[in-house]
């Protein structure tokens, strides 16, 4: 089998990339999806808040996904569902497995859109027993929203990631008692609007700088003990809080799913845990592109779609016209910035570029400094936080004169 573009993953990133590639003139596109329906994680995100940026509409996850599914179907884009990619090679051979067998597709360009997974509780070194009733927040969300089952009745949520916050509200609405959300950092990694709408509106306490000391229960979980931590995240004796509960949810971070990427030899960035890419979202392996949560974890799907369209158009160009010569400069993180994406900017592209970044800690009245070696410019932001991705735009001229791009955030009060 041969295709111009193979897209691995039919979530919001894969769908938007497919549509954009098609519209850029590359019609021989295949989307491979391991689940029985496309739409990715949006299928289980039945809350609203999607599409505010892109469509100026307040959509649910399935509604947002549906817009892209419709566009893909309208164009007759080929989508292989219930099909698992077992291997990808640097020369763009994609091996798949489904109920009709194992087969290999040769592609001119590949777009990685596999999304991310939740960090598991196992990684956290938690003392106590290993009973039933411990879930990652996304798994609990699937039980409630897709399977119609309530995981339990008295719930403690560890970690204040967005899925955990959303689930605090969701479980409350379905009649469970959410006792608290605990977060080890001094701030939540979730969106501010989720803290307000999912916790504050329901009177669910958020304990910042708290971690889990112990899980109890034989058979099913019967309780957890939280403890306050100091600046070095060490437990402070005597600050224990005990909760009787039958369910514990973990919302402790998302990790891009790059096992295939890694095995294909595509270079990864330890900061994002996704591929190193240029402005086209092309990885350091020619003809392999990446977008969405497999590239870096986004907080809003609207930005995923935008990124996927960039990758889709660029992959189409690559598949139809082949690669071109690049003149890369690096994008680096300065003070208080944890990563900048893309990591490489191509001066030959001769086009404006948006650079995305995340900050290390929350600031009010922040000053973003963009240093290009040739000049510095500053941008003011009212507030920045690690849970919200920021961006700055550079014009074609600014990039043309740049030796490198370094983004730093300073000033303001915490």
């Amino acid at each position: 089998m041969k295709r111009d573009i193979v897209i691995i993953g039919g979530g919001p990133a894969g769908l938007a990339a497919a549509v954009a590639a098609y519209d850029a003139g590359c019609k021989n596109v295949l989307v491979v999806e391991r689940e029985s329906e496309v739409g990715g994680v949006l299928k289980q995100c039945i809350h609203n808040g999607f599409g505010l940026t892109r469509f100026k509409e307040n959509l649910t996850g399935p509604e947002y996904a549906h817009k892209f599914i419709e566009e893909a179907e309208k164009r007759g884009i080929e989508m292989l569902k219930d099909t698992f990619v077992t291997e990808l090679t640097a020369d763009k051979k994609v091996t798949c497995m489904n109920q009709s067998g194992i087969f290999t597709v040769e592609a001119k360009a590949v777009i990685l859109a596999m999304g991310c997974r939740e960090r598991s509780k196992g990684a956290l070194n938690i003392a106590g027993t290993r009973p039933a009733g411990l879930f990652s927040a996304g798994t609990a969300q699937k039980y409630v929203n897709v399977k119609g089952m309530l995981p339990g009745k008295r719930v403690v949520i560890l970690g204040s990631g967005d899925i955990g916050l959303i689930m605090a509200r969701r479980l409350t609405l379905e009649g469970a008692k959410v006792l608290c959300v605990s977060e080890i950092m001094p701030y939540s990694s979730g969106l501010r609007r989720n803290i307000a709408q999912c916790l504050n509106d329901f009177g669910i306490p958020l304990y910042l700088e708290h971690t889990v000391a112990e899980i109890e229960g034989e058979g099913r979980v019967s309780g957890v003990t939280l403890v306050k931590v100091d600046e070095n995240k060490r437990p402070i004796a005597g600050t224990e809080k005990h909760f009787d509960c039958d369910t514990v949810l973990f919302s402790v971070g998302l990790i891009p799913e790059n096992e295939l990427t890694e095995r294909a030899g595509v270079a990864l960035d330890p900061r994002t845990k996704g591929a190193v890419v240029d402005g086209d979202r092309q990885t350091q392996t020619e003809g392999v592109f990446a977008c969405g949560n497999v590239l870096h974890v986004h907080d809003l799907v609207d930005f995923v779609s935008e990124e996927a369209e960039i990758a889709g158009r660029a992959a189409a160009e690559y598949a139809l016209q082949g690669g071109r010569a690049h003149a890369y400069i690096s994008a680096e993180n300065g003070e208080n910035v944890t990563y900048v994406l893309p990591q490489r900017v191509d001066k030959n592209k001769n086009a404006p570029q948006k650079l995305f970044f995340r900050v290390r800690k929350a600031f009010r009245n922040a000053v973003v400094t963009v240093d290009t070696g040739a000049r510095r410019k500053t941008v003011k932001k009212i507030a920045v936080a690690p849970g919200e991705m920021e961006s700055v735009a550079l014009s074609a001229e600014e990039i043309g004169g740049a030796e490198y791009v370094k983004i730093a955030v300073t000033g303001g009060d915490r």
């Binding site: 109920q99 997974r117 939740e118 799913e257």
Partner: protein, 475 residues
């Protein structure tokens, strides 16, 4: 129905005893208190096939260890169980410890361990580049190995069942009537009669003996806690790396597992109530002790942590004997480390004694082979396609991290001994054992179990009684 032999306990000792007894013309039942076999120490241990230089000369531990280690490769081959002869290294950090290595060397040779030798720094780092740079010498045991302990237990029980043994789970023996025959009563009212009973109850062995009026030994418990790293850390060490043993035991080790992970532990703490809860301070202790023997351990790849409990007896050696006090009872007790290694030899010895007692003949149709759990994943693409064409469920991946198909999960539920719980499926197929720790595959696995047994989702458990996975009811 009355059985010739009832085995109490479906750990590795009970399972391999059952398999060895299945060679004879005897009717055999295994009574396991938990929802599945491998519920006790046989699920959570280091998985090391010890070479045999630790145990005191002349002890039963030494005898069964060396004999078991020699049998292990064949048993695993027959049962399709993951085993690797990866070799072990005991590191010494100063002159005094080199002295201990020499003692171990002499003891090992006296115990009959082959090819043991002490190696210097050069060979050590050639073998293991992450061995601590401060090590000055090591005892090298080429016969040391690794085995998947729960896979061995499950496969041995499955093979015993394929050869006619009956397994009753959720059968916790709480009472024994010992007359001409023995009647064993379960907590839920069921009863089974047998002519002879083998006590393989691990942590519960003292209690079982007492049900028969045998108080000739006591069983204590020492907990061991572990950290497990993802298969992404595979290759960090190839051999099993020990520090020199102290009075407290063999200490923390760093080893590959037969499944391709890296295992670090165990600690050693008295645990009077046999709890497998991990102590708050355990992680720091494991990490510190492991760093003393290996450099640059990738703890960032941690995927889970767990604990197992060693059931030791007051004689400080294995008990493998006819009860000193009761009729119709054979005790295996105090089977702490190296009990896993010894299990094939203990099972064989116990079965031979019982067969002699009954004057039982060997069956002609005993089949020692069992298809490996991993049979499908080891096939090439063309062979896989043939299997998928037969049964499309083998083309559907359920567990992404470990690439486990629906076909393999259904097979684990239907094959002997049938998986009935989420943990049962996990231990048989590895579904849920990878980096996401079942985040993605749990709902699908639950549905498959529910469908196969005609249960609702809310009735499927993690590991039996009171461990429902989703307990809040339907929305």
């Amino acid at each position: 129905m009355k059985y010739d032999v009832a085995i109490i306990g479906g750990g590795v000792i009970g399972a391999l005893t059952a398999r060895e007894l299945a060679r004879y013309a005897l009717s055999v039942v295994v009574l396991e208190g938990a929802a599945d076999v491998a519920a006790g120490a046989s699920k959570a241990n280091s998985g090391i096939v010890h070479a045999g230089f630790d145990a005191a000369e002349g002890s039963l531990k030494a005898r069964y260890n060396v004999a078991g280690s020699r049998m292990m490769a064949t048993v695993c081959e027959e049962l399709g169980v993951g085993y690797e002869n990866n070799g072990s290294l005991v590191l010494a950090f100063d002159e005094a410890q080199i002295g201990i290595l020499e003692t171990l060397l002499a003891r090992g040779r006296a115990n009959g361990v082959r090819d043991l030798r002490i190696i210097g720094r050069e060979e050590l780092f050639l073998r293991e580049k992450h061995a601590s740079g401060r090590a000055v010498a090591a005892l090298y045991a080429p016969t040391g190995g690794i085995v998947c302990p729960f896979e061995l237990t499950i496969a041995a029980m499955g093979n015993a069942m394929d050869n006619g043994v009956l397994l009753l789970t959720d059968f916790e023996v709480v009472r024994a009537e010992n007359g001409k025959t023995v009647t064993l009563h379960a907590a839920d009212g069921r009863a089974v009669s047998a002519g002879y009973v083998v006590n393989c109850a691990g942590a519960g062995a003292e209690k079982i003996a007492r049900l028969f009026g045998d108080d000739s030994f006591t069983v204590g418990a020492r907990k061991g806690e572990y950290i497990l790293l993802d298969s992404a850390a595979k290759g960090f060490v190839k051999s099993t790396i020990f520090s020199v043993p102290t009075a407290a035991g063999k200490g923390v080790l760093v080893t590959p597992t037969a499944d391709g992970n890296i295992l670090i532990g165990p600690t050693s703490v008295e645990e009077p109530d046999f709890s497998t809860a991990i102590r708050r301070g355990a992680f720091g202790e494991i990490i510190e002790k492991a760093r003393a023997i290996c450099d640059g351990i990738p703890f960032g790849e941690t995927i889970t942590s767990f604990a197992g409990v060693r059931a030791y007896c007051d004689r400080h050696d294995f008990i493998v004997e006819e009860s000193r006090k009761a009729e119709n009872l054979f005790n295996t007790a105090g089977i702490e480390s190296p009990g896993l290694t010894s299990a094939p030899a203990i099972g064989k010895a116990v079965a031979e004694k019982i067969a002699a007692r009954f004057g039982a003949e060997k069956k002609k149709d005993f089949n020692p082979k069992r298809r490996a759990f991993s049979w499908f994943r080891k096939l090439g693409a063309a062979e896989k396609n043939a299997v998928i064409a037969e049964d499309p469920a083998y083309g559907k991946i359920v567990c992404r991290c470990e690439s486990v198909t629906l076909g393999e999960i259904v097979n684990a539920i239907r094959q002997n001994p049938p998986a009935r719980t989420l943990d049962g499926v996990k231990l048989r197929t590895r579904a849920g054992m990878g980096r996401c720790q079942s985040g993605f595959c749990q709902p699908a696995t639950l549905e498959t179990i529910a469908k196969e047994y005609g249960l609702s989702l809310g009735e499927v458990t993690k590991n039996g009684k009171n461990s429902a996975i989703v307990s809040g009811g339907a929305i």
